[in-house]
């Protein structure tokens, strides 16, 4: 199977089938990350579009083996951050900020997907840097790749991951623990 870097080179050489393969590999993970960051599907689609084009049109990127994914997510993250800043500039701060959705209500806890609702609420309540790491992690990025994307040392990623797990563990404990 061809690597992401090989597909990337082929797309730039005019091979549209290579683009289809590359897109299929990232449409779920990258789009999920953008939707969770921007909280708006339409804007996430625009961000995905711009991310791919920006990556493909980049002038001779020096990609190491396995470096494409972290690089692509970094472009996507920067694009999403720019969009958030534009919202703040363009509209009232209240409506522009990516406000987390309201946490689950007591009634919602009673539906059969109690853990799912609890987990969703717990992820929404995470502090922004930890929530971002959670979304990158579930998108399949390694610790090293996350460090590249969020531009912090690897040790910082590890300590944030521990903090995030600690918070989530407490939130979902009623559904995962037993006597």
């Amino acid at each position: 199977m061809e690597t992401d870097e090989q597909l990337f080179t082929q797309v730039r050489a005019g091979n549209i089938a290579a683009f289809d393969s590359l897109y299929a590999r990232y449409e779920h993970g990258l789009f999920g990350f953008l939707v969770a960051t921007l909280r708006d599907r339409a804007e996430a689609e625009d961000a995905l579009h711009d991310t791919f084009l920006r990556a493909l049109k980049a002038k001779a990127p020096q990609l190491e083996a396995g470096g494409f994914r972290a690089w692509l997510f970094r472009i996507a993250r920067n694009d999403a951050l720019n969009r958030c800043r534009s919202r703040i500039r363009g509209a009232t701060a209240q409506s522009a900020l990516p406000v987390p959705e309201a946490g689950p209500t007591a009634e919602e806890h009673l539906v059969h997907h109690e853990l799912l609702v609890a987990l969703e609420g717990a992820v929404d309540r995470l502090p922004a840097p930890l929530g971002e790491l959670y979304r990158l992690r579930v998108s399949g990025l390694s610790y090293e790749e996350m460090a590249i994307v969020v531009e912090v040392p690897l040790g910082t990623v590890k300590s944030r991951m521990h903090e995030m797990v600690k918070l989530l563990r407490e939130e979902v404990k009623p559904w995962t623990a037993h006597e």
């Binding site: 797309v11 730039r12 050489a13 005019g14 091979n15 549209i16 683009f19 289809d20 897109y23 449409e27 779920h28 789009f31 999920g32 939707v35 969770a36 599907r41 996430a44 689609e45 995905l48 579009h49 791919f52 084009l53 493909l56 049109k57 997907h113 853990l115 799912l116 987990l119 969703e120 992820v123 959670y134 992690r137 579930v138 998108s139 610790y143 590890k158 991951m161 521990h162 995030m164 797990v165 989530l168 563990r169 979902v172 559904w175 995962t176 623990a177 037993h178 006597e179």
Partner: protein, 140 residues
Amino acid sequence: MDCARIDLVGYHLGLDASVDRDSAEAHLRVCKRCLEGYLTLKRDADSLARSSGRPSDGARARLRRDVQLAFPPPRSRGRLAWLSRPIPLYQGIAAAAFVLLCATTGPRVAHRWSNPRSSSPADGSPVDTARTTAESFNIY
């Protein structure tokens, strides 16, 4: 490791502690309730991650079209694509000078070759270049 100490969230998110992961896996093999708890957590976490779905077909088609425009396939670049090859400066100047030289001197050379005796008199008689008197005193 007992049930109270197992960290299912950390295990699911792949916390970088191989010793804990090994002992957690060993515990999951023998404790059915923890395994069920982990599978439920994993199912719901995966479901949450997939809840955003995938981009619309329209968004995909728009991106695909823009990629095709930005990076056209090689065959559609046309038969004259070789003209876009860069030409080295000195070779280009030399080629242009050669073409100019041919354009200016070529017709004369060609005319001389096709009429090698064009400087001879029109009647074709040989010219006596050693004569002592002028051939004619007419002023043309």
